[in-house]
Amino acid sequence: MKLLLIEDNAELADNVYTYLTKEGYVCELAASRREASNKLAAFEYDVILLDIMLPDGNGMEILRELKKEETNTGLIIISAKNALDDRVEGLNLGADDYLTKPFHLSELNARLKAIYRRRHFDGKQSIVFKEIEVDTLQQEVSVHGHQVVLTKKEYELLLYFLANKNRVLTKQSIAEHLWGDHVDFLDSFDFVYQHIKNLRKKLTKAGAQDYLSNVYGMGYKFREVVS
């Protein structure tokens, strides 16, 4: 996957760059609107990560230009503004997603993958991980070809883990992924634990290996190789 990150803050860009290159993406950076326009004119990208507050203009303009060209490029807006109007305007202009700062890199990664899937396979692609298969259109999960019935949250949790394989996911990032950030969910870590326990039970019962491991009791990791 080839990405363009349009972000004027070097530190933040570095975080995203470090996290996403490790994922195996090709990630390019643009620190201003002009630089972004140049790169967009010269190259094609699968997904663009766009900070709408840029030193030389509003990122929405880039979005408008881009949408005129009718490319198949996905776009995620990254904004410090959690304003409903901005969100609505961005999505109306054709952005695929809207992420508010501060965000978890694992969350960004999961959303990137979802957009990539949607853009390139019309959402029909199923995610296959060894014996586990996820049909993202039907929202169905099967192990060794046998369907496993998951609750909505368990399904979302599995997708989140599959998007962030071999990464440590903190309880906090999982909680925010599952329940959003409207409600004060700081006491929701018990729920995360319960959901993971249930998910693990359902998967292993269906014959999958136990890929989920606990990191010092504080985070979780979905390992490709079961130790």
Binding site: N15, T18, Y19, A80, L105, S106, K153, V183, F185, M218
Partner: protein, 421 residues
């Protein structure tokens, strides 16, 4: 009471006093003038009598027959002070009315041809009660006329003279500090109103400017804060991904991340509160609350089940309330979350929605704080160190924003009630 009504009433009150005093003064003046006139009349009649008496004495007429009537009496006397005129009040028979009336009496002794004659004349005086009656009648009629004129006058004054004032008032009523439109009151010919309008123009303009700059400031502060938070959070996430971290190091990274998460959440809650307070949300559209409640219940079903809470609901269909749907779902989420947090093992949550109100009851320990403080910011029960203490403050703010009433009570169970009306 309207200003014009009040001034008219005050004016009428003052008129009552003035007319009262005026009545007394008029009465006194008229009685004095009438007394003077009566005396003057008697005096001028005396001149005629004097002449006739002189002639009658010279010609030797019978005085008794010639002069004495009910109002005049001439008698020869032995002595007396000659030409001293005495006036006095007396009561005598009225010649026509045939009853006793107040009379004015003139007494004088004249020396005619060496003989002394006492002349006594009486004349009817206008009675005090008659003057009094007339004065009262005049005053009351005048007063009635004045009241009528005042009322009609005040009506026209309020319609014309106060028109600029009413125009100003209605413009102020529709003034909103969060809108960019200036109030722009016109200048009028009346100096006071003109001054008032200029003052209001300046003041509201200043308020709008200050509101805008404050809003800009809090927005900017809010944005500027998010980026460093995002940087720190990202760094910690990358750090946590490092396989070589020891348990102690990992634990420290987690604590730091948790603290950052808390800070960011606190920040979001506070800026949400500010936005609602600043009325940056639309007041809302007709929203199907029944639907919204069902959706929220669906979201919480799993969590409730995990805590072994029994959720029962009685939801009236198609309850439509004017509500901002975004704020509405925040409100419900916060309430459902609270019902779960302040609950007990195997407890219950009961939801009841009617067209007038939403009631959520849940089991749980009684609050250890004054329930009145519950909706205040940063108010939390001591054992719930994980809560931000802003959840109910947000709920309250959203209710206030939509003019809905919210109340809390505890009778063995927690109960929160929101009435839509």
């Amino acid at each position: 009471m309207k200003l014009i009504t009040k001034t008219t009433l005050l004016y009428i009150l003052i008129s009552i006093i003035v007319f009262g005093i005026g009545g007394v003064v008029t009465y006194n003046l008229i009685s004095k003038e009438i007394a003077k006139e009566t005396d003057y009349y008697l005096r001028s009649s005396l001149d005629v009598i004097d002449y006739r008496l002189k002639r009658a004495v010279q010609r030797g007429y019978d005085l008794e027959r010639r002069f004495n009537t009910s109002q005049l009496n001439i008698q020869e006397v032995e002595d007396g002070e000659v030409d001293e005129i005495y006036f006095s009040d007396t009561i005598a028979m009225h010649p026509h009315l045939k009853q006793l009336e107040n009379m004015r009496m003139l007494k004088v002794v004249r020396d005619v041809e060496g003989k002394l004659f006492e002349i006594t004349m009486i004349d009817v005086v206008v009675e005090d009660s008659d003057i009094y009656d007339s004065v009262v009648q005049i005053i009351t009629r005048l007063f009635a006329l004045l009241v009528l004129a005042s009322i009609i006058g005040s009506f026209f004054i309020s319609k014309t003279l106060l028109r600029p004032f009413h125009a100003t008032l209605s413009k102020i009523k529709s003034f909103r500090v969060d809108r960019p439109e200036r109030i722009n009151l016109p200048s009028t010919r009346v100096k006071e109103f003109s001054q008032l309008n200029t003052f209001i123009n300046e003041m509201t303009g200043k308020a709008q400017d200050e509101y805008q700059s404050l809003k800009k400031f809090s927005e900017n502060a809010s944005h500027e804060m998010q980026t460093p938070l995002a940087i720190a959070q990202g760094k910690l996430e990358i750090l946590a991904d490092n396989e070589q971290l020891s348990e102690a190091q990992f634990s420290q990274v987690m604590s730091a991340q948790k603290a950052l998460g808390r800070l960011s959440q606190l920040h979001q809650s506070l800026s949400l509160l500010t936005k609602i307070e600043n009325r940056e949300f639309d007041q809302g559209v007709s929203t199907d609350v029944s639907q919204l409640v069902r959706e929220t219940m669906e979201n919480f079903k799993e969590l409730y089940a995990m805590k072994n809470l029994t959720l029962t609901a009685q939801i009236e269909d198609a309850v439509v309330v004017n509500l901002n749907p975004h704020l509405g779902s925040i409100l419900l989420s916060n309430l459902f979350h609270n019902a779960m947090r302040h609950n007990q093992e195997n407890g219950f949550v009961k939801v009841n929605l009617t067209s007038n109100n939403l009631t959520i009851r849940n089991s749980g320990e009684p609050p250890n704080k004054d329930p009145a403080l519950l909706f205040n910011r940063f108010e939390k029960s001591s054992e719930q160190t994980n809560s931000s203490g802003l959840g109910l403050a947000i709920v309250k703010e959203i209710c206030d924003f939509h003019s809905m009433k919210i109340s809390y009570m505890y009778d063995e169970h927690h109960q929160i009630d929101i009435s839509f009306a």
